[in-house]
Symmetry: C2
Subunit: 409 residues, 2 copies
């Protein structure tokens, strides 16, 4: 693992400056779960009154910590809360012992921080099928508690990485009724990324005060537009977890799921989702796929995902080949409604195909030049309706094969 | 195209000796459709009384020749018939002009062979979105007619290739009521292979006498067990065509869709389907994926295809990594029913995982040694029902990326 020494060419220039979110403290330690010489266990403490919403993998073989989080997520409580994350071991497909390990970790965190156990969430990410050495985590809890600091969010972003080539963070502040509300989030993930969130862990914090039911519906709706619209390799992990915690320390009450707070949260989530794609294993191109003119939103997304997941489209992007025939192929195979003779395809602003054939104005040289860009847009207008969807992916390269043909042995 | 100079390591030792099927003649010529210095147009003439069944791509952007074949396939006729195939140009996504080109080809063949046009089928395979230079085909029809011979099936198998690294053929003879019945088939295809038959052309001939409706239902049922159970890259072509022609010259009448004739046809179709996988772009391993113990046959196939299409499972095979965790992941993401704690996984005869965790008897060395084989079997018992399904695929290697990242430019 983590033998990728270079940083993704699509990485942001630097880790962003994130606002401090009142009521959230972070700490990390090196526990030797699997990696040596790096922080691999991260603790987050959330102040009393914090509400928490969550979205999780839909995998039927989901991991023990995911099952545990799901059981706890809808329980409201006025006490504080905590999140503990380890990297290097997914505690997935570990049977009854996996549940026992999660229980051991969350009960020890509860005791250490004087919280009820049902307010301690955990995530594990890394190799599947190996028992989690939970004593290595629990023996470090006092150190973690001592190190807790509101300023340490970047350390947390580093601590949750596995094969990620860069730490991922995004934040925003906004003024509401003369007060400042902050949002800050971190994410990890690069392979096994697909709708329903793949090997991905995301933690977002805000000092707004939001009731759990409002927080949950906002999170679910925005996930459908962000993390569930990205794919790296169409594979879905057993561990995906997205937690959103609202501490309320700003004293700004968000009472419904629309307005500027939702917009800011949407921006943070979309930025983190894009960063996950930009760290896609072996990625050298960032692709935005937009399908409009569909009969339904579901059809639009089915077509967009068929294009985004097509190995032939993704290898064409890698080869800088304006191969719109493969886009036609992907639309054809998706199973959703399309009329071959009504659809049009654009690469960026270049009209490539329309009326069932190559556009009369299209010059192959224009397409070839366009494909040299690092950020590519492929747009399809189906011409049969009003619905649209946008998804994001990366290209499929030799780098992906290299990373995944010898990840574990 | 066709810049792959080596033959797939999974190719059969040699092209098989195929039986001559009475009433079927073949010829090939070099027409310079796209390739130079090779045969690229193939003609098949079928004797009067031949019945023909067909199965085609389900792509909504299917090619002009596919639309034309579909319109003609169910028309019974006592006249002879013909099939014309060109390689190098798919005549797909070519709009109205594409239909005109197909019409020009089939009407010229009809005139040349004195057949009604509704008995002339055609296929085009190669690049999408370029107009078919149909005059290059029609100007060679007299040559093709002169060259027709019952012995030339191997030339036909060569003539229909595009990126294939070897020509594909399979045949059988069987005795029925003291008479000999022959079946011989040829196929092309290596990339864009997925259920619903991908960039694949298959032509199978028999001298049995079979009514069109019986022939069609046998073909459809057996396709579900053979060509629709293979995948190379999950992509589906716009051109897939499978035609089965029964000339009746053996004077053996097959009146129902069961019995030894069906079994022999099944064997030929499965052999050809496996050969297509064995020529999968960049393939170095042949994988059989069997899922049993499912609640329904549909669930079993959904799980099997999720495993077979998973880039992470396919790269693990390429890397000879016994990474059963990725098999668990693929089952989890498939959407079909599974219980994490009841499923068991075998690599060959080696029990790798059971009861939701790695098997107590499993030794990693055994898995590592097993994965060195060229032909791999991954079996999953879901433990919740009686239904099963088997599918076939190949590994995902640097070769696939090399072939597809610069196919067209």
């Amino acid at each position: 693992m983590a033998k990728i020494s270079h940083i993704s060419p699509l990485a942001p220039f630097e880790f962003p400056k994130l606002p401090v979110v009142g009521g959230v403290e972070f700490s990390t330690v090196a526990a030797g779960i699997k990696y040596q010489d790096r922080e691999d266990v991260t603790l987050v403490r959330l102040t009393a009154g914090t509400t928490i919403a969550g979205v999780f993998t839909k995998s039927s073989t989901r991991s023990a910590p995911v099952l545990d989080c799901q059981a706890k997520i809808s329980q409201n409580d006025e006490t504080g809360a905590a999140i503990l994350v380890n990297a290097g071991n997914a505690n997935a497909f570990t049977g009854k012992k996996g549940l026992e390990a999660t229980d051991a970790v969350t009960s020890a965190v509860a005791a250490c921080l004087k919280l009820p156990q049902n307010r301690v969430f955990s995530s594990s990410t890394g190799v599947i099928g190996e028992l989690l050495p939970h004593e290595r985590i629990t023996s470090k809890l006092n150190d973690l508690r001592e190190l807790l600091s509101e300023a340490s969010i970047r350390d947390a972003a580093e601590g949750i990485r596995t094969t990620d080539t860069f730490a991922k963070g995004s934040g925003k502040t906004l003024d509401i009724a003369g007060k400042t509300v902050s949002i800050a989030g971190i994410a990890k993930g690069s392979g096994m990324i697909a709708p329903d969130m793949a090997t991905m862990l995301v933690y977002i914090f805000t000092d707004a005060r939001v009731e759990q039911s409002v927080l949950q519906s906002m999170l679910s709706e925005l996930t459908a537009l962000t993390f569930n619209c990205i794919t790296v390799d169409s594979d879905t992990s057993t561990s995906d977890t997205l937690l959103l915690a609202a501490t309320g320390t700003s004293d700004v009450h968000i009472s419904d799921g629309s307005g500027p707070f939702r917009d800011a949260l949407h921006e943070v989530m979309l930025d983190l989702a894009h960063q996950v794609v930009r760290d896609g294993e072996g990625a050298t191109k960032f692709l935005e796929i937009k399908v409009c003119g569909a009969r339904s939103q579901k059809d639009a997304k089915t077509h967009a995902m068929a294009i985004a997941n097509s190995p032939l489209v993704k290898t064409a992007a890698a080869g800088e080949d304006p191969n719109w025939g493969r886009v036609v192929m992907a639309i054809g195979k998706s199973g959703a409604e399309a009329d071959r003779d009504l659809l049009s395809i654009r690469f960026g602003d270049i009209l490539v195909a329309e009326n069932g054939w190559v556009s009369a104005d299209y010059q192959e040289d224009d397409g070839v030049n366009y494909m040299k860009k690092q950020n590519l847009k492929i747009s399809v207008d189906l011409g049969i309706g009003e619905a649209s969807a946008t998804v994001w992916t990366c290209d499929l390269t030799h780098g992906y094969i290299s990373i995944n043909a010898d990840y574990r042995s």
